[in-house]
Structure formats: C-alpha cells, structure tokens
C-alpha cells in the first residue's frame, strides 16, 4: 500500500487508450469493487489502475482509504492527491517534524477535515506545536497513535486533549507524560473508548483515577507497566463499559489491591491480562475471579508463583472463560488436575514454560478439556508419549498445538498428531524428535497454515514432500537448522504451497539456487530467511527478487556467494524490502549503494563485509533516508566522520555498533543441537 513513490512510473506509459474509455463510464461503486479486488491480488495494481486514465486516477484517489508516505516531506503532495483518505499512516517516516504536521493541517481542500486516523507511532521529531496544528485542523480525528513518543511531554498531551472526538488513543511509551498530561486528556477526550498508557511511567494513581472518572466510555484500557496501585484500581474496575483491561507488569498491583476490590468489578469485563504482575499470588487472584462472571480471557502468565488446587477451583466461578494463559507458572499438588475439572469451558490453554506439568496431571486435565482448540505446552520438558497420546485422543478438534522443545516425546507418538488432529492449522514441533513418518502423518492436516519444525534433524525431503503435496494452505514454514533438507523438498513446498508468505531455511546448508528459483514462484512471499546457506548465490536471489515482489524481510547472512548482482536485482524489483541482513556476504560498496535506493528500507545489518569501505557505507546511509536501525561493525565507528554519523542519527536512524569476532565456519546442525541440549542438562 505504499503511496506515491515519487519516481516510479510505468515503463511503457501511454496516453489513455480508447479501451480505457468504458472504464471511465462505470459508476464509482463498481470501480471501487474493481479496485478492491485488484488490490487484494496485488497491491501494486492500484498504481497501474490509476495510470490508466484520468477518471481511473480520480476514482483511485477517491477510493484510497489509507496513506502511508515514505517520507514526511511527501505529505503535502500525497494529501493533495488523496484529499479524502481517512487514514494517515506515518510509520515509515522516522522523523516527522512539526512543520510536516502543520502541512497536514494546512492541506488544501478537505484533507485535514476528513482525516480520521493518524498513526505517528514510529515517528519522532514532533512535539506539541505540531499536534496543536493537527488538533486545530483535524476536527474529525478519532484515532491517534502516539506510541513511542518518548519526547512527548505534558504539553503534547494537552494538545491531544483538544481533539475532542478521539475515541482511540495510544500513548504507549510516552514516558515523559505525567498526571498533568493524562488529566488534560481525561477531561478533553471524554469519548475515549480505547486508551493505551503502557509504559507511561510518569502516570500515577491520581491521573488514572481522574481518567476513570471522566472517561466513562472506556472499553479497552492498557495500563501495563504503569505505577497503578490499589488507590486507583477500584475506580478502573468499576468503569461501566470496560471490556479489556491489560495490567502487564504492574508491580503496584498486589494481593492487597485485589482483595480490596471485593465485588466492585465491572460486570462487562471480558479480558483481563495480569501477566508479569510479580506481586500477585493465588490469594489475590482467587479473590477477584469471583466477581468477574463474564470474563472470557484471563492471562496470569508469570504472575502467580504457584497454581494451587484452591486457585484452580476458584476458576469455576468464571463460567464463560474461554482462554486461560498460565505461562511460566508452577503447578503444585494436583493444581493442573483441578484446572481440568474447573475450567470445562475453556477453548485455549497455555502452559508454556510451566513447571510441575507431569504426564498424569496433563493427561487428566486434557481428558476433561475435550473442547480445547488451542494448547501450548512449549518447554514442558517432562511430558512424554503418555501426555501426547492423551492430548491427541481427547482433543480431536485442536487447531493449534505448540510443543516446542518437548524433547521426551518420541517420534512414534508424534505420528499420532497427524492421525487424530486433522483440524490443525498451527503446529510447532521445533526441537523435537520428529521424523519423516511423523511428517507423513501430518499429511492429514490439510488446513495447516503454519508449521514450525526447526531443529528436527531427522526429517528429510521425503517427509517434506508429503507436506508440500497435502498442505496447500501453508503460509509459514520454519525449517531452521533442518540439516537433512535438500532442494527437492523445498521445490515441492514451493509448488504445493502457493500461499507461502514466510519461509525459514537458515542453516539448511544443502539447499542451492534451485530451491530459490522454485520459491520465486511464490508471489506472496514476504519473508525469506536463509542465513548460513553457503551454496546459494546471486543467481537464485535474483530470481527471488524478480518473482517475489512483496519481499520485505531478507536474511542472507553467511551466504558467502551472494554479491552485488543480487543487490542490483533487489534494488530494481524489491521495492517492498524493509529489512535486510547482509553480514558476511560478498557485497561491496556498489551493491550497498544500489540497495540504498530502495526508499522503504528500514533495517540493515552490515557486519563483517570485506568489500565495504567507510565511504561507501556513509554514502549508503546518507542516501537511504528511511533507515531506522543499522547494525555496523564497531571498527567503522572511528572511520566515519562524526558529523555524518550525527546527521544520520538526527534523521531518526539508530546506529548499533557490533563487536563480534569474525567467524566464517558454520557448525553442523547435530553439533549445534547437542551443544544446546548440553546447556539444558547443566
């Protein structure tokens, strides 16, 4: 949805041909339908459509819902062309000066007045004056995202308070905003439905209390990592329309605060997230669950040190509970069994990284939770085939099963997954004993969309071919360090899974350009990670660049064969590229400079490239205006002119200096796995 890339024109642009005329006479509604379909197939089609005729261009400008300029200085032009776009997304502009916001406010026509949604969450450089201009001009603004505005203070919040119509506001990580700013917002924006104050460390109970008093319509509230205590928790809990309350990492919330709530909880509350509230124990939790009868989702991850049977039984009071997350908790004395008997309604259970999960308890629990749709038992290292047998036999309707690093489950038991759970859409078997037979069994899961089978050293092309043949809906496959995979398996995946969006081939050392050539047929591919694949070369990557135009994330670290040629292709075709890791490649200054012509590029990692000189590097950094974060080798720091570094940083680009030793060789997958398991034993 990149708007108005300035110099891009259709190579063979002609005057509107007579064939385009019928299109002009279509009603707007029909044109918009066509546009929607075209955009769904390929976002770039909109540009071609607009170029077809004047009427098409006008229709496209009328129909555009969102603007996402690459640079803030393009704003006036973009707003002139799309005066009715309700959403302005500035996430690609690292630096949005006040003047740019003033330009938005001063845009000709109704552009400012029709703006509903403004996203400044990834931008810096603006302050209260810019927001004041927006507040004055954009009377209809409803949705404002100021996340990560670490420079924004109370003055900025006071300007936000003048946007009376705001219903959604995010001030996440606006650490300089204090109670005064929040007080202004609370009084000014009384219609707020959705507010995030995550990481607003300057906000205390005073501000939160006033907020709860003035903004009675709040339905979604994120107070994570704030200093909220029992002083303001009751008023928040009593908000009449509150549905989603997020209290992640609130150290001020303790048992005392929860117990003091009594029955004062909002009856409308549906989602409560208290993960990482380290001062909350089972006592506090069991005291509040009684008064939240309508709760659908409860997250107690890393919150209660112990899940005791009484706590588990108290969940009985939440009759509608559907999601229960208990990551990182410790089960004592049949706590898990009690979960099984108490939470019969739940559909989603997460026991990731829990300790005290044993075969008998888990088997008992899942035998009661027959309606489970999602189960996460990541890192429950003690469970064996018994548990998996119980899971697969009881929960036949599972759509998501995540069991990374359940290393004691044997390959034979893993075959049961495919046999019984045919509804699976998401499966994570990373670091397991999976073999080709298991993969063959998964062939029954035709709805599979995400398959993570990294660090499964026993799988080979033979098994992967089954997946490729039977899982046409696959979007995401992770084959990290699957040393047994060769080109044939990947080719089959590429052929059988046209929807593929993301593939991870890192350290699959055997794959070659053949795999890449076949993958280039996957037009929706956005993420390609293949670090440590020494046998791929520029040829294969060039094919990818030409075929996968939507590619936005590319990791080719330690693909030593890849050189400037591939970069030239990327710069020519991959205009969606946002992130690239070039470490250890054979790319030189030329490749880097050509790469930097991709205006949307945000993240680059350029470490240990022998062909890069400081001059080439600084030139690339200066040219590439949209950069946000660049990792460079420490050695370059002293070789680049300091004022240049300053200039780059002033534009909003963070430079991270890496000081890792140069290490070319890649250890074999089995050695690596053994090392990782040795850590576990120790």
């Amino acid at each position: 949805m990149t708007a108005t890339a300035p110099a891009r024109r259709e190579p063979k642009r002609r005057r509107p041909s007579p064939a385009a005329a019928p299109l002009d006479s279509l009603a707007d509604e029909l044109l918009f339908l066509i546009l929607d379909r075209a955009a769904a197939a390929d976002p770039r089609a909109l540009k071609a459509f607009a170029a077809a005729s004047r009427a098409c261009r006008a229709a496209e400008s009328r129909h555009r819902r969102a603007l996402r300029p690459l640079r803030a200085d393009l704003l006036p032009a973009a707003l002139a062309r799309y005066p009715r776009a309700p959403r302005l997304d500035l996430t690609l502009c690292a630096r949005v000066p006040d003047a740019a916001l003033a330009a938005v406010a001063a845009a000709p026509g109704a552009a400012a007045a029709s703006l509903r949604d403004l996203d400044l969450s990834r931008s810096a450089g603006f302050g209260a004056p810019g927001l004041a201009a927006v507040a004055r001009a954009c009377a209809g603004l409803q949705d404002l995202d100021l996340s990560n505005g670490v420079e924004l203070g109370d003055a900025a919040a006071a300007e936000v308070a003048r946007m009376r119509g705001l219903t959604r506001l995010s001030l996440a990580r606006c650490k300089a905003v204090t109670d005064m700013g929040i007080g202004c917002v609370a009084v000014g924006c009384a219609d707020l439905r959705d507010l995030s104050l995550r990481w607003c460390l300057g906000v205390t109970d005073l501000g939160i209390r006033l907020l709860a008093l003035k903004c009675r319509k709040l339905a979604t509230l994120d107070l994570s990592y704030t200093m909220i205590t029992k002083e303001s928790l009751p008023v928040i809990m009593k908000l009449p329309n509150l549905q989603v309350l997020t209290l992640v990492g609130c150290i001020g919330i303790d048992d005392d605060a929860l117990c003091s709530l009594e029955k004062e909880c909002s009856k409308s509350l549906q989602v409560l997230d208290m993960s990482h509230c380290q001062n909350v124990t089972d006592v506090g939790v069991s005291s509040i669950v009684k008064s939240m009868p309508n709760l659908l989702e409860l997250d107690l991850s890393y919150c209660c040190p112990q899940i005791t049977p009484p706590l588990a039984r108290s969940f009985k009071n939440i009759t509608k509970l559907r999601t229960l997350k208990l990551e990182g908790c410790k089960f004592v004395a049949d706590g898990l069994k009690a979960i099984g008997t108490s939470c019969v309604s739940i559909r989603e259970l997460s026991l990731s990284k829990c300790s005290g999960v044993t075969d008998t308890e888990l088997s008992f629990a899942v035998s009661r939770l027959k309606n489970l749709l999602k189960l996460d038992i990541t890192c429950c290292r003690n469970i064996t085939d018994l548990s998996l047998a119980a899971i697969t036999s009881s929960c036949a309707s599972l759509i998501s099963l995540r069991m990374e690093a359940c290393s004691r489950v044997s390959s034979g038991a893993l075959q049961l997954i495919g046999k019984h759970c045919s509804q699976l859409e998401e499966l994570d078997l990373t670091d397991s004993d999976l073999d080709d037979e298991g993969l063959k069994g998964l062939a029954g899961c035709s709805k599979l969309s995400s398959l993570k089978i990294g660090i499964c050293l026993r799988i080979s092309d033979e098994g992967l071919i089954h997946i490729g043949k039977s899982c046409p809906k696959l979007r995401d496959i992770d084959l990290y360090r699957c040393g047994g995979i060769r080109d044939d398996g990947i080719i089959q995946i590429a052929l059988g899974c046209p929807m593929l969006e993301s593939i991870n081939l890192s350290y699959c050392t055997e794959i070659t350009d053949r795999s890449l050539m076949s993958l280039s047929k996957c037009g929706k591919l956005t993420t390609l990670e293949m670090r440590g694949c020494p046998r791929v070369s520029s040829t294969g990557l060039s094919e990818i660049a030409m075929g996968c135009r939507l590619l936005s994330k590319l990791d080719i670290k330690k693909c030593f064969e890849i050189n400037d040629v591939a970069m030239l292709y990327l710069s020519q075709f991959s205009h969606s590229l946002r992130q690239i890791n070039l470490s250890y490649c054979s790319v030189t200054d030329i490749g880097l400079l050509s790469l930097s012509s991709i205006c949307g590029l945000q993240n680059m990692t350029i470490v240990h490239l022998s062909g890069i000189t400081p001059n080439g590097l600084i030139a690339a950094l200066m040219v590439c205006g949209g950069l946000r974060k660049v990792k460079l080798h420490e050695a370059f720091k002293s070789m680049m002119p300091p004022h240049m570094i300053k200039a780059v940083e002033a534009r909003g680009c963070g430079l991270q200096w890496i000081d890792k030793p140069f290490k070319v060789e890649v250890e074999p997958c089995d050695v690596w796995k053994q090392q990782s398991q040795d850590v576990l034993v120790r």
């Binding site: 640079r71 006036p76 006040d98 003047a99 302050g127 006071a158 005064m180 240049m644 300053k646």
Partner: protein, 516 residues
C-alpha cells in the same frame, strides 16, 4: 428590652411559656438594677461575706429570702418538680418586690462610692470594704433571682448557661471571689441565673462586675461541666447550624461517646491571651510555668509534691484525670457544645487555633502575594514557605500547592482541566526543539494555557485572555512555521556539510505553507 426578650426566647424554644414569663420578670429586675445603678443609697452591711456557704442556704441570705422558698432552694434538685406543680404567683410577686428593694439599696451604695471617689482620693480601705459589700449584695440578689425564676424552670439547665459566654463569665466573676465552690450540685441554679440578661446587654454589666473584682487577679473564667449537654438527657437547644469551615485538627476523627469526657470551655479572652502554659484540669492559661504550678496547688494536695511542682503534671495526672475535651465559646459553632453535632476540640492549642481561624479577623497578610490572609501566624508562615510555588494550576486559574488537590478539584468541576505552568511548557518545548525561535515560544506559551472550557461552562479561561489572538490566529499560524525548517535537521549545521545530496526535502515547508 424587646430585643433581649426575643433573643432569649429563641434560645429557649423548648421552655414552657410559664418559664419565659418568669424570665421576663427577672429580666426586668436586671434592667432596673442597671439603669438605676447611679443612684445613691445607703444599705446596711450584710452578714460576713466569707461566711456564705457554697450552697444556697447562707445564714445571711435568709434575711432576704422569703421563708417559703428557702428550704426548697436549699435542695433545688429535689424541690423542682413539686415547685413546678405548686407554683405560687403570690410568692413570686413578694420575692420580686423584695428584690426591687434590695437592688435599689445596692445601687445607692455604688452611687455613694462613685461620689466619694471623686471627693477623697484616699480611703482605700473603706472603698474596698464597700466593694465587698456590693459584691455580696449582688450575689445575694442574683441568688434570689435564680431561686425565684430558675427553680421554676427544670428544663433550663446547663445548655443555656453555656450558650452565652459573657453571661457565664459574669457568673464566674461573681462566684469565685465569694468562695462559691462551683460544684456540680450547684450548677442548675447558676445556669438559670445566667439566662437572665440578654446576650447583647451583658457587656456593661460584666464590666461593672470586673471593676468590683479588681482585687482578684486570677479569676476563674472557666467553668467545669462534668456532664455536657448531651450527657444528662437535657434537650439540646435547637439552634441555627452555623457550619463554620473547620480547618483545625482537634477531635476530628474522634468518636468519644457524649458524656465520657469532660468538656471545658475557655473564654474568648483566655483563648486570645498570649498564654503558653495551660492547666490540664481547668484549662486556665498562664504566661509562666511557675504560675501554673502555683495554680495547680489549688486543685488539690496531689499537686503539691516536689515532683509535681517541678514540672507540669502531665504524667501523674494521666491515670486519674478524666478525658478532657474543649468547647469553642462561639455559639452556633460546630465546636461549641450547644451544637447538635458537637465535635469537641482535643487540646487547648486546638481551641486557640480553631477560634482564631474561625471566629477572628485574618490580620496576617502574606507579604508575597498580598492576597492570602491568616489569623494564625503559623499558618502564614506555612503559606509563605509555599507562596508563589503553587505550581499545580487549573484551567480556571485556581492554583494548588499539591497535585492531589488539583486533581480533586478537576474531578469535581465539569470542564476544568489541569493546566501546565508557563515555565514547564517553555522548558519542555525548548527541550524538544533546541532551535526554538521567539514566535514559537510565544505560541507554545499561549497554547499551553488555552484549554477551552466546555461552552456551557460559565467560567471563562483566565489564561486565554492573555493570548494575543491576532498573532496566533489560524491565518497567521502558517508563516510561523516558516522559521522552523531547521527542526528537520537538528543537531548539525547544514552549511558545514560537505555532502550536498541530502535526501530531505523538508526545506520547502515554509514556502509551501505560505503559498497555501
């Protein structure tokens, strides 16, 4: 006369009409006494003054009292009901006639004294003797009055007494030199006596009494009420509720049941006197601790020990001394014991501060802001510490010294919003934009304050008025930004830059905006 009547009547709504009739009579007597006080008349000296016992049956007083009343007065508590039933108008008439005569006599003595003072400068012995004589006479008159009127009114007891500080002072100044022990049994009669004069008419009478008692330098101005109004079951006097805004701390959170403590009521003069040492038993104040210790001896032998004399009797008296609370002498005040929702004050210091804060002029003005006034100097000092530093500001212009106060205010009033202090706005803007220009500063300052109140709110925004509207109108806003092109490149100066291919196109903002 009529004014006195109405004030009395309002104060005694609960009383019977019969009682008020009696008071009317008594009042008229009092009037006579005062208006004729200059007449000269010689009156034979009554019996030994110190010989008058603390009770109402002095041998000398029998001379003046009709016989039928004497016995009853001797024990008023027992006699009240029967007296009420067999109320005899004739007896009262004879009593009053007698009183008239008696008052006339006293008036004459006083008159003669004033005349003689003019003639002979010396003769202090004789004057003193006469003063004593007058005092004794007046006392007996008052006693007589009370026994006539007061005993008829069983419902009028303590409350009315204490409702008028000046009256009570009169009673005290009369009583103490005469050696009347102000004990509990005596209270009802004394109380009723003090009802007699109207509230506003007592002052000159009071003065007279003070003059008569000049020999006594330590007057007992304080009365001890072992049982406050609520305790004895006597009806609290209906009274208008003057809810004075309380700022003192004494007795605020306490919930002592009425009757479980002794209520002391210091007088106005006592409260305002610059005393620092107070008797823990009666509340009397002294300038010197030594005087207090000497005073304490009068409270009993236990205070005469060397230890008690050495230092204040805080610890030794703590176990046996009853819980003492204080009443404000201001009638109608919530801290006054007549009040329906009486809240006693905990310490004498509380009394002093409360009285000064609530019922005195605020004579201390803050020299910094020249607006805030205080009646307690400590308050002024506290304020001066923070004056000018009220940095918590509301959009309505009110300032607060504490953030929670501001937020309480904002929570209370619709449309009010916290406002950022001028300095803060400037500072924060300056930190955001290091290359701030002057118009920018002006603008941010104005914007920092211009929170529009909701239109329905009548409170106009004070700070809004300071904004120079012409300068910051939307029309002139855009050119303002022409000066900010530098913002796009903070931290370095482009002129030093050898690279001229900077990709930023932001230099065009100013022109674009001006054009549009």
């Amino acid at each position: 006369m009529e004014g006195g009547m109405t004030s009395l009547e309002t104060a005694m709504k609960a009383s019977s009409s019969m009682a008020s009739g009696a008071i009317r009579n008594a009042d008229s007597d009092q009037q006579t006494l005062r208006s004729n006080s200059l007449e000269q008349f010689y009156f034979p000296r009554p019996g030994q003054l110190p010989g008058i016992p603390p009770f109402f049956g002095p041998p000398s007083s029998s001379l003046y009292l009709p016989n039928d009343n004497e016995a009853k007065i001797g024990n008023p508590f027992e006699s009240i009901p029967s007296q009420n039933k067999d109320w005899d108008p004739h007896a009262i008439v004879s009593n009053l006639t007698f009183l008239e005569q008696k008052i006339k006599q006293v008036k004459d003595i006083v008159q003669s004294m004033s005349n003689r003072e003019n003639q002979i400068a010396g003769g202090s012995c004789e004057v003193a003797a006469k003063q004593q004589l007058i005092t004794a006479d007046l006392t007996s008159i008052i006693i007589q009055l009370i026994s006539t009127a007061g005993s008829l009114l069983p419902s009028m007891k303590n409350p009315l007494l204490s409702s008028n500080p000046a009256v009570r002072q009169l009673g005290n100044s009369l009583g103490s030199p005469m050696g009347f022990g102000m004990n509990a049994n005596q209270r009802p009669s004394v109380d009723n006596k003090t009802d007699i004069p109207g509230a506003g008419k007592t002052s000159d009478y009071d003065e007279l009494m003070n003059n008569l008692n000049t020999t006594q330098d330590e007057r007992d101005e304080l009365m001890k009420c072992p049982n406050p109004c609520g305790g004895e079951g006597s009806e609290p006097t209906p009274m208008e509720d003057h809810d004075v805004k309380e700022s003192d701390d004494g007795g605020e959170g306490e919930n002592l049941p009425p009757g479980s403590y002794v209520v002391l009521q210091l007088e106005k003069e006592e409260i305002l006197a610059p005393h620092t040492h107070f008797c823990l038993i009666c509340g009397k104040g002294f300038k010197r601790d030594a005087n207090l210790r000497m005073h304490m001896r009068g409270h009993g032998d236990e205070y005469k020990t060397p230890a008690a004399l050495a230092k204040p009797t805080k610890d030794s008296g703590s176990d046996h001394a009853p819980v003492t609370r204080y009443s404000c002498p201001f009638v109608g005040c919530k801290r006054n014991k007549e009040h329906k929702k009486f809240q006693p004050l905990k310490t004498i210091l509380c009394v002093k501060n409360h009285y000064k804060r609530s019922h005195c002029d605020k004579s201390y003005t803050c020299s910094r802001c020249n607006t805030k006034k205080f009646s307690v100097i400590a308050d002024l000092k506290t304020h001066e510490k923070h004056c000018g530093r009220d940095k918590w500001l509301c959009s309505c212009g009110t300032t607060f010294s504490r953030k929670d106060k501001l937020f309480g205010h904002v929570a209370l009033f619709q449309g009010h919003t916290p406002a950022l202090p001028m300095d803060d706005v400037k500072v924060s803007e300056a930190s955001e934009q290091p290359q701030d220009s002057e118009p920018m500063n002006e603008m941010t300052r104005s914007m920092g304050y211009s929170f529009p109140c909701s239109s329905s709110d009548g409170l106009s925004n004070l700070d809004m008025k300071m904004v120079d509207d012409a300068r910051f109108s939307p029309l002139s806003f855009d050119p303002c930004f022409g000066a900010f092109d530098d913002f796009t490149r903070p931290g370095f100066d482009i002129s030093e830059d050898p690279f001229s291919f900077l990709p930023l196109g932001s230099c065009s903002y100013g022109q674009q905006n001006v054009d549009s």
